[in-house]
Symmetry: C2
Subunit: 413 residues, 2 copies
């Protein structure tokens, strides 16, 4: 056995003997982050006036698309007019699911319901978000990988593939992308806005999950606002923009929203009116009373950043020290993930880490059907563990990456 491998194996066994249990598989905010939002629990109490600005009693039934001041708050956050916003429940994923489900049973603005078609295809920039891929897979939609680079998805490929009228949409996380932290360039956004897919019912699923989730005041990525760009390009109906406050207020107890053109919103509302009498207006009001306005959200996100930034910087510094020349990774300006690219041994690394108590996102998760063709991508979610736990986890990870890279090198020599 290679001497280096022997040493790494010995070190790994020592880590294993520590009996750790460190969870880093999802982009979960940590306790300190949740604590920032605790004062939100006080803004509505039993003596509070629960009428919203236009006098509607938020406790009662009604108001299908969300209360006005919440549409304004979320609209400001995602840079669209309130009139282009609908507020839903707590999950933007459920809003996306709902859009595809509705298209399956009812089509899109008059098109044939997708369930009636033989074949539906979807473009999936990779690496991407596993829960997106799960939705399209659930509906039996054929997913086509589109490679990402530092400017966003390969737009030549997107434009070419969109000539097939079975291609009905694309998943995008355009800012601080999950998992590679990329923000789409102006040119990429522009090409999306001007996209002329063969299918009239093609939609860009623009999941702007990390729009205000910066790590730095002085290094923020800029993303042009897609609705306005599409409108300017004479293409207003091509995009659904999604957002939520899950990683702003409380995950699971926030508000989610869609922003879209008037025609798209009218269709969505017509279906919503069948599904529900309305979403939780009290929680909408709670968010408005707590954040007040965009400035309130910005200030709040600075406090999140103060907690997250040292974690991301720690990951980067350990990787720099341990993995230079061995693996590649990004140092994002925001979002929730670092993408570590190893040499053909991602699955082995993740499995060996798990055996030592460091639970990472399943290898392959960043690709449709869980199939990473290069077996290279490992998604790191640094938010949940403490700095100390994170340091331990990253040291174990680095040891394992070095070990598996060496073993992999032996095999392929």
């Amino acid at each position: 056995m290679d001497e280096n491998i022997g040493k790494l194996l010995q070190l790994y066994e020592e880590y294993k003997d520590m009996g750790l249990e460190l969870h880093m598989e999802r982009g979960k905010p940590c306790k300190e982050q949740l604590n920032i939002s605790m004062p939100m629990m006080d803004v509505l109490n039993s003596s509070a006036d629960l009428n919203c600005a236009d006098g509607i009693d938020c406790r009662n039934y009604g108001v299908l698309g969300g209360i006005e001041e919440c549409k304004k708050l979320i609209g400001d956050m995602i840079e669209v007019p309130a009139e282009n916003v609908i507020i839903f429940g707590n999950s933007s994923l459920a809003v996306m699911y709902g859009c595809i489900s509705r298209a399956m049973t009812h089509g899109v603005l008059g098109s044939t319901p997708w369930a009636k078609l033989d074949k539906i295809k979807w473009l999936c920039p990779v690496p991407g978000y596993d829960r997106h891929f799960s939705i399209t897979e659930h509906f039996g939609i054929e997913m086509i990988n589109v490679p990402m680079d530092s400017r966003g998805p390969d737009m030549d490929m997107v434009e070419e593939l969109a000539k097939d009228d079975a291609v009905k949409g694309i998943w995008c996380v355009p800012k601080y992308s999950n998992p590679d932290g990329t923000t789409y360039s102006k040119a990429v956004v522009d090409r999306f806005a001007h996209l002329k897919p063969a299918a009239k019912d093609f939609r860009i699923y623009w999941d702007n999950a990390y729009s205000v989730h910066h790590l730095y005041d002085d290094k923020q990525d800029y993303l042009p606002e897609i609705l306005a760009e599409c409108e300017k390009a004479g293409n207003p109906d091509i995009v659904y923009k999604f957002t939520s406050t899950s990683k702003i207020s409380f995950p699971g107890s926030g508000v989610a929203a869609i922003a879209a053109s008037k025609s798209n919103l009218a269709e969505i509302k017509a279906q919503m009116a069948i599904e529900t009498i309305g979403y939780d207006k009290v929680n909408q009001l709670r968010h408005v009373r707590f954040f007040k306005d965009l400035a309130g959200i910005t200030e709040h996100m600075r406090r999140h950043a103060d907690i997250l930034r040292p974690k991301f910087e720690l990951v980067d510094s350990i990787f720099k020290k341990e993995l230079s020349g061995i693996a590649e990774w990004n140092a994002p300006h925001g979002g929730y993930f670092v993408l570590l690219k190893v040499k053909g041994c991602a699955k082995e690394v993740v499995e060996r880490c798990r055996a030592a108590g460091v639970v990472l996102t399943k290898a392959g998760a960043t690709y449709p059907y869980g199939k990473d063709p290069y077996n290279s991508d490992i998604r790191i979610a640094p938010s949940y563990p403490t700095l100390k736990e994170l340091e331990t986890a990253m040291k174990i990870l680095c040891t394992v990456v070095k070990l598996e890279t060496a073993l992999h090198g032996q095999k392929t020599e």
Copy 2:
């Protein structure tokens, strides 16, 4: 012109001149009812421990089917074990919509997705709940009327129609039914439990919306628990039972739930896992901390009853005085509605009332496609107006009923 008609017309014109605006179109709780739940706004504040009993931080992601103590609370309320319960968001209507939507795209426990079938049919006990009918209509499902009597739906007809394997389900509001206040008899429930429809993917949609919504302590209807009855009958998968706290805590800010067999729940959860990371656990916890247990809910519902009972009794007493021999109605022991049956002039009555500022549920709404074949049903929702407003509204309604009945009598003579 008939002298009586002349007098009624004159009285009606006087009412019209009052320029009233009284809304009774929906079963909306009134302000006083909402106030009962205001202390719920205090149970979770910024110093509260937001961990649930098993230590899970309710503020964070996760827990797909709802927190254990909420499943227990809702399970106790609807008389099923917690393990048969899934907690959703704020709307039981959305849960029902989701069940049909899932069946359309994915079938039921392995059956062909309904969207792939030429024809789907549904049984609709009438009169019934308009929002139920809207869901089935939205999905292009052919609705078949099944008449209700004081024991529930005509079960001979249900059993006969269920021999058609295109018939995939039935809407039921089994207790204090919307709109006629009926509670299904033991024999009817028994026949439902033993139903053997041709379609394996037939489901009874048991919307137990008013399970604890009694008006009296000493006059409560009894409904056998359907899950247990189906289980005993060797038919455990045939029913989905729905409930929510919309008319217990806050409409729109409550929790909704489904109760079903293990197989049904497993299928529902598998799809839920694609749609969302979880529903609002903080709100689930808020409900548990506020109500504590079934006794807490029972006591709370007594306070609702104290507000609602005088309204229902007022309606009954005015109808008795004004409409005996002219129309028929029920005096329910619970729920939210009184059904007034007039002689072939429901549409005319509702329109004329609206012209005088009394807004009732649209005539026909209690039938699929909005078509009341007898033009007889008027749904009265006494909860929202004050007693004084209700008295005025009922007097106007009675005048209009007498007037339109007389006019209708002239026409048909």
